[in-house]
């Protein structure tokens, strides 16, 4: 028979480290860890705050210079556009002095030119590129004998160098090769030369 006369409140743990002490150590350790975490968090938070403030200050200091640099870039783009515009104007023109000089060499001896007419237009091409295009109408007279051969020779000249560099097509419009109403032995003709579009690029 085993009789335990010790009251519950008088019972003691047989362990070397009492439970209360373990609980106190654990609670104290947790409290210390929490305190360390709070301090660490606060320190890093303050550091972040300071760093952000410094970055903001630096930005405030740099922003005007940055805006000036952006303005400069914009101004440069505007000037480049102007340069492109004025250069395009120059590069798309055709030198008519040189064209007339070249034309003189292409006229067969039998032909007498009576009129040279140049017109020009500016338009936007399919790829949205502006272009300058010229058209030349050449009117002339030729003796009836071998008139067809002479006019064909003249028209063919525009399909050969140097004209192929500039001219896209050279045609006699329907009805524009006919007898001269005043001089019956002569033929009059008209050749229309369409120049290649000179693209603004």
């Amino acid at each position: 028979m085993h009789i335990n006369l010790i009251l519950e409140s008088e019972q003691r743990s047989a362990s070397l480290i009492p439970l209360h002490a373990v609980i106190r150590i654990v609670v104290g350790g947790l409290g210390l860890l929490v305190a360390l975490a709070v301090v660490s968090f606060y320190t890093s938070y303050r550091a972040l705050q300071r760093d952000t403030e410094e970055t903001l200050e630096e930005w405030k200091h740099t922003e005007p210079k940055y805006k000036a640099a952006l303005d400069l870039r914009t101004d440069l783009a505007v000037r480049n556009d102007l340069m492109k515009e004025i250069s395009g104007w120059r590069d798309t023109r055709l030198g008519w002095g040189a064209q007339l000089a070249a034309l003189r060499g292409a006229v067969p001896p039998a032909i007498q030119l009576t009129e040279i007419s140049v017109s020009h237009d500016l338009f936007v091409m399919a790829n949205n590129t502006p272009a300058r295009v010229y058209e030349v109408r050449l009117a002339g007279r030729v003796g009836a004998a071998q008139s067809e051969a002479a006019v064909s020779e003249f028209t063919d000249a525009f399909r050969q160098p140097p004209f192929t560099a500039w001219i896209e097509s050279a045609v006699i419009p329907p009805g524009r090769f006919r007898q001269d109403a005043q001089v019956k032995t002569d033929r009059i003709f008209e050749i229309v030369c369409k120049y290649k579009p000179r693209r603004f690029e």
Partner: protein, 208 residues
């Protein structure tokens, strides 16, 4: 503080304490931790944003020396073109400048200028972008004259060679039965001019 000796009472107290601790933790999380964490996240975001802006700004500032050099070069070229080749009004008239430019060339080449008339100012229609700044207009004149074929060629070459920005947009050479060695010439010539320099009266006349 001593816990009650009774097991049930002690359990009640412990439950109450536990609930109190949980409520305290919730209150602390909601009122302290969440705002602080939000604030920290915002600080992080702000710092990252300003750093990104600074990086961009530094790159731009680093390039700005080169941009300044390009800007100066282009500005110099534009100024040189404006000074050397664009037409400038003399006492509000461009035609005087045109006469001053063409008459000596006509004399040199033997070409005869019979009439010179202003045809007005129109926008330069050949442009890089419709949205770009309008800085140039085209001032056009109608010239009538006569000369031999050689003189005409020489005159046109002279006009075009001396100013690469002058553009002959219309040309009509007609033979004259009475004087077969001389041909009649009608020309339309366009000069670029600075848009802001265009006198309002001339600009109002319009183009073609």
């Amino acid at each position: 503080m001593k816990l009650p000796a009774d097991k049930k009472e002690r359990a009640k107290v412990l439950v109450l304490i536990g609930m109190g601790v949980i409520v305290l933790i919730i209150v602390l999380v909601q009122l302290v931790a969440v705002p602080i964490l939000d604030s920290r996240r915002k600080l992080h975001e702000d710092r990252a944003e300003y750093r990104a802006r600074l990086d961009k700004a530094w790159r731009e500032l680093h390039a700005s020396k080169q941009i300044q050099a390009e800007f100066d070069a282009v500005t110099g070229k534009l100024r040189a073109i404006a000074d050397d080749y664009l037409l400038h009004p003399i006492l509000g008239s461009y035609l005087v400048g045109v006469s001053e430019a063409l008459d000596p060339q006509a004399r040199e080449t033997g070409f005869t200028i019979e009439d010179l008339q202003e045809r007005g100012i129109q926008a330069l229609r050949l442009r890089a972008k419709e949205t770009s700044v309008r800085a140039y207009n085209a001032y056009s004149i109608q010239l009538v004259g006569q000369g031999s074929y050689d003189q005409i060629v020489a005159f046109l070459k002279s006009v075009e060679d001396r100013n690469p920005y002058v553009c002959i947009t219309e040309l009509k050479v007609t033979g004259q039965p009475d004087t077969p060695e001389l041909h009649r010439v009608a020309l339309r010539i366009e000069w670029p001019i600075e848009a802001e320099a265009a006198p309002p009266a001339a600009a109002a006349k319009g183009g073609k």
